[in-house]
Symmetry: C2
Subunit: 258 residues, 2 copies
């Protein structure tokens, strides 16, 4: 299995231009949000106030692109396979490096990602449907409002995984251990209560099979901060491209609280 | 028992000018750190990087002194019984209100406090020595360096509670549930390993009895951020006076992670 340093080196050389699902298993993959310093305090506050959708793994000082704590020798500008660059909330480019766009006032946020707890679910014998069906996880915009902070606000976006009734408690227990990667569910059962009309029509990702008797379980999703950032229309903002994550040297198990 | 809103009202009227230990039991009490906006991002970063000594409960936008989320109708400027005001790291005043010193660029940080987990320890049958002996908890400067952030750096300060051997595991389990109020211990056993020469001579607080066979257990302490802030010598900084905490409407149990 490729180690995180090895994968990051491949990506940096342009030899890995695809999603990072399934590589360097056991290591935490991170969502990236890169913003000019003038927005950084507000965004930090937004994350602190909404820890389930926006679990902060690390923040770098303005201008710093070397995340030594999370990734020895890593480089934020080149080590995700693909990036999205937004100007005033509009997607302008999806480059494989953001070296040429880098600015001295850029602040990088690394946020936790549900890949970490899905691995833990499977190890605990709780199957994960969209992985079984080789699909992207279904995501839904809810009626749960995030606590706003400065210019950042918006609804919570959630992922859904159907769980057989006798595994629901285990699913809650296992994922609650990983507070820094979304943690326990935000809702169990009736989708209507959180404003979801039709599980078969997710707002992002793919619909998955929900068998009769299975319980839909909902977790806060990392698309929440991305949606809040693009809605706030900052002059410029860079994120990883969906599925093209930054792979850290941190073991998922190091993120478990108890 | 007085509710948090009632205690805050008494304090605001100047009718409670003493430490807040033992009042509004069950509700979280918070450490206060108030800094000008220009230092706020760095301090936020320091807290995020050192969550055990600096567990952030809430941060307010610049100029805001109404912590509605933590304390309905509360006022940061008047609702702690006593404050310390520092200029360039030097204590200049210890007023009972900071209304006259308030500035539009002040950012308020509320940090968790070990009173919350001590209550949980006692409920779980783990006695807390300094409470039994009616003393202030002993605190020690360690050789554990905090992760620096901007102008903020310094050693971790810890508290020590002696525990009988057959309660040490329970002490770890109980306090680990409260990550937002310092969480589990940072060290168990030999004080020398973390740079403490003599348990009988704490750097702050009072020495407590350690019976033969008892194990010293060390938790990260909220004096850590206060020491880092005064060492950084910001133009101005306001904290609560030791023991004179801000009482929130949040139940300690709401802070428990699992």
């Amino acid at each position: 299995m490729l180690k995180p340093t090895e994968v990051r080196a491949l990506i940096r050389k342009g030899k890995w231009d695809k999603p990072t699902t399934g590589i360097s298993l056991g290591y935490a993959q991170a969502n990236l949000v890169i913003l000019p310093e003038k927005y950084a305090f507000d965004f930090f506050l937004f994350c602190q106030r909404n820890p389930k959708p926006c679990p902060v793994l690390e923040v770098l000082e303005p201008g710093n692109y070397k995340p030594d704590f999370l990734a020895a020798g890593g480089d934020v500008r080149t080590d995700a396979p693909r990036y999205n660059l937004y100007e005033k909330g509009k997607l302008r480019a999806s480059p494989s490096s953001v070296k040429e766009f880098w600015r001295k006032d850029f602040v990088t946020f690394f946020l936790g990602c549900s890949l970490s707890f899905e691995e833990a679910m499977m190890r605990a014998g709780v199957p994960v449907r969209h992985i079984e069906e080789d699909k992207n996880v279904p995501m839904y915009v809810t009626n749960i409002e995030c606590r706003p902070a400065g210019i950042f606000r918006g609804p919570m976006v959630v992922t859904m995984r159907p769980v057989v009734p006798d595994k629901v408690v285990k699913a809650v227990q296992v994922t609650s251990r990983y507070a820094s990667v979304h943690g326990g569910p935000v809702h169990i059962g009736d989708p209507n209560i959180i404003g979801i009309k039709d599980l078969g029509r997710p707002d992002f990702g793919d619909p998955v099979t929900v068998e009769k008797g299975e319980v839909p379980v909902f977790w806060a999703c990392g698309v929440t901060p991305q949606a809040a950032v693009t809605a706030a229309k900052p002059d410029i903002c860079i994120t990883h491209a969906p599925g093209h994550m930054f792979i850290t040297d941190i073991l998922n198990e190091e993120l478990a609280t108890t």
